[in-house]
């Protein structure tokens, strides 16, 4: 009984810590002027946290952290439209990453690349609905490759971080 409650306290602390780290990264990213002049397009630094959560804590925890950080960050720095964009991009991206990871056949960096791409695909699907624009091919093409690039960077960073973060923090 005592042991169980200690584990839960630890779990809560880890969730809190990792969500806080995600919020700090979002704040950091908000300070950088938009690199690409496309609405809703970001480097996606926060995805490092999601990737780490996915690999260190599992699918369910990653989903929980993802939803939490999207809600908190959108309420803190964005508006309702930012929430819809982040939610669609973040959810689609994480779902794709969870599925790819479950196959057990792919390296983390490939999973992250696919996640980066589908983050943008999710956002553009919502942008298509919101702006009523069907000619999204140009955006899709640009964002597809941009997502691949940011996914690669996040995969490399996440891989390095995973090696240096001891499992004892999360377990």
């Amino acid at each position: 009984m005592n042991k169980k409650s200690r584990v839960n306290v630890k779990k809560i602390s880890v969730y809190g810590m990792i969500t806080a780290a995600a919020i700090v990264l979002s704040w950091l990213e908000a300070q950088i002027p938009p690199f690409f002049p496309i609405p809703g397009m970001k480097i996606g630094l926060t995805n490092i946290i999601v990737v780490i959560a996915l690999y260190k804590m599992g699918s369910g925890s990653a989903m929980a952290v993802n939803v939490l950080r999207i809600l908190l960050v959108s309420f803190l720095f964005g508006g309702p439209s930012a929430l819809i964009y982040s939610l669609s991009g973040g959810m689609l991206s994480l779902l794709v990453m969870i599925l790819l990871k479950k196959t057990g056949k792919f390296k983390m960096i490939s999973v992250s690349i696919a996640g980066g791409i589908f983050h943008n695909v999710g956002q553009i699907l919502i942008a298509m609905l919101m702006t009523d624009t069907t000619s999204i091919l140009w955006y899709l093409a640009v964002l597809w490759f941009a997502g691949a690039v940011s996914g690669t960077l996040i995969g490399i960073l996440g891989n390095t971080l995973l090696k240096h973060l001891p499992d004892s923090i999360f377990k």
Partner: protein, 130 residues
């Protein structure tokens, strides 16, 4: 040794290969469909508010949801030269000329889009300025 590494990442090469191929296919389709842009179509709040020929130079002030944007059409290219939106992303999106390309100003809910010949026959349009 090298063969071993290749074998270990063969699924990854396959996955990334597919992802790049799909991306390239989307890009090629966009370029292929981009020929024959003839009109500049302005949508505010999802509704077409005006259509101008791409071949005639002009400057238009667009009244959006929360402010205005200055659209410039010159030398068969369209771009937003000034805007009072907070992020100015629409200005930075640059010049467009190919069919299907668009400049989006999310804060003002304005979409400027290049359309082809068929746009002329669309009866939904309020104004076609010749």
């Amino acid at each position: 040794m090298k063969k071993g590494i290749l074998k270990r990442v063969k699924y990854d090469i396959f996955l990334v290969g597919i992802l790049i191929t799909v991306g390239a296919a989307v890009l090629l389709t966009a370029v292929f469909n981009g020929q024959g842009g003839e009109y500049v179509c302005i949508k505010t709040d999802g509704e077409v508010s005006a259509v101008y020929p791409l071949t005639e130079n002009r400057r238009v002030v667009i009244n959006g949801a929360n402010g205005t944007n200055l659209l410039v059409i010159e030398n068969c290219q369209a771009y937003i030269s000034e805007a009072d939106c907070p992020d100015k992303l629409c200005v930075r999106q640059g010049k467009i000329s190919m069919k299907g390309q668009s400049v989006i100003c999310l804060p003002h809910r304005i979409v400027v889009e290049i359309t082809g010949q068929e746009q002329k026959d669309n009866s939904d349009i309020d104004v076609i300025v010749k």
